[in-house]
């Protein structure tokens, strides 16, 4: 009769388990969504001084563009046409100190800008003067985070380019625009 206690214990165990077992119910919510596009761009400096010597091409490779994007993207560069500039887009023009000179003296050659590839971000060659509508500078094939893009500015100065009286200088304002593609 040693089996009796085990039988009793077993049945009581079942009873206790049933008494303690929680009653459960289920329901679900499906969640679907899309991450919107994100892009950001910044420059490592707001102005660059470019010493110009007649008969030579001045270059400066200090311009760094930092970009982030969560999908493929493009970067374009445009003549910002700020400070009263109404002509000679893409050319360094006579800036009198507070605005562009209405006489619109400009260097004979357009400003050059050359990007450098970095990973999946490929530079685009700019030919001719940078327009106000923008030229492609980079095509980003994939998402990037704080990617630094190096660039070289170049300006050919002819012997026929005029020397400006002080305080006038040759200047151009550029805009760099990033967007998802």
């Amino acid at each position: 009769m040693k089996t009796k206690p085990w039988i009793i214990a077993g049945l009581l165990g079942v009873a206790l388990a049933l008494m303690a077992a929680p009653v459960m119910a289920y329901n679900t919510t499906a969640v679907t969504g899309s991450v919107t596009s994100y892009v950001s761009i910044s420059l490592n400096q707001s102005s660059i001084y470019l010493p110009l010597t007649a008969g030579t091409t001045a270059t400066n490779s200090s311009l760094g563009i930092t970009v982030s994007a969560n999908s493929p993207f493009s970067v374009t560069v445009a003549d910002a046409s700020l400070n009263g500039k109404t002509t000679n887009y893409g050319y360094m023009s006579n800036f009198t100190g507070s605005s562009y000179d209405s006489v619109a003296t400009a260097l004979g050659s357009p400003l050059g800008l050359l990007g450098i590839d970095n990973g999946t971000t490929i530079h685009q060659t700019i030919t001719g003067a940078i327009p106000t509508s923008g030229d492609p500078l980079y095509t980003g094939g994939a998402a990037v985070t704080n990617q630094v893009l190096a660039n070289t500015l170049s300006q050919t100065v002819a012997n026929t380019d005029l020397v400006l009286p002080s305080p006038s200088v040759y200047r151009i304002d550029l805009s760099f625009i990033i967007g998802p593609t």
């Binding site: 009769m1 049945l11 009581l12 008494m19 969560n70 999908s71 985070t145 998802p180």
Partner: protein
């Protein structure tokens, strides 16, 4: 005692114990809980660099009978073949095939579910994952108790914007549990 009498004793004991089991166990079986949610969240525009909140699933409605205490829990049941590494997170989903992209992208942060509180209900915030986490709790029966629920998704600027037509998806399973 004869062997037959001993068998009779055992049988009698079993019948008695079984009766005790039924008497005590049946009331527990009579307890019920019903949990319903308002609906699915679709076409949620998730903005990078912020915590996106959505109350479309709200309200959560709970009805219980025979409850001593009850609770609502949430977890990611990995429905529709969702891979385990993405538990709690929204995973890339192909709307055309109605399947998850097994090697697809997932968002960096887990979904969170925040249960609202009321007069007789206490809500808790929960991070969605493979294990059940409580978002609501109450004592005693409730009848069509309406509870607000907020689902949140933190999106980093590094979370990818999908350009292949796929979306991010996850399924939140709400579990009602009642103890009588």
């Amino acid at each position: 005692m004869t062997p037959n009498f001993q068998k009779f004793q055992v049988m009698l004991l079993i019948v008695f114990t079984a009766t005790v089991v039924l008497v005590f166990a049946l009331p527990a079986g009579a307890a019920t809980i019903d949990v319903s949610v308002n609906g699915n969240i679709q076409n949620w525009a998730l903005t990078p660099g912020s915590t996106n909140e959505n109350s479309t699933a709200s309200p959560l409605t709970v009805t219980t009978t025979g409850a001593n205490t009850w609770s609502v829990l949430v977890y990611d049941n990995l429905d529709n073949g969702k891979n385990s590494t993405s538990a709690g997170k929204m995973l890339e989903y192909n709307l055309t095939t109605s399947q998850y992209v097994d090697t697809g992208h997932s968002l960096g942060a887990n979904l969170t579910v925040d249960g609202g509180s009321g007069d007789s209900v206490v809500g808790y915030p929960a991070t969605l994952g493979p294990a059940m986490v409580q978002i609501e709790g109450g004592t005693g029966d409730v009848n069509n108790e309406v509870i607000s629920v907020t689902i949140s998704q933190q999106v980093a600027t590094t979370d990818l914007h999908l350009t292949n037509g796929n979306v991010y998806r996850g399924v939140i399973t709400f579990v009602g549990e009642v103890l009588s």
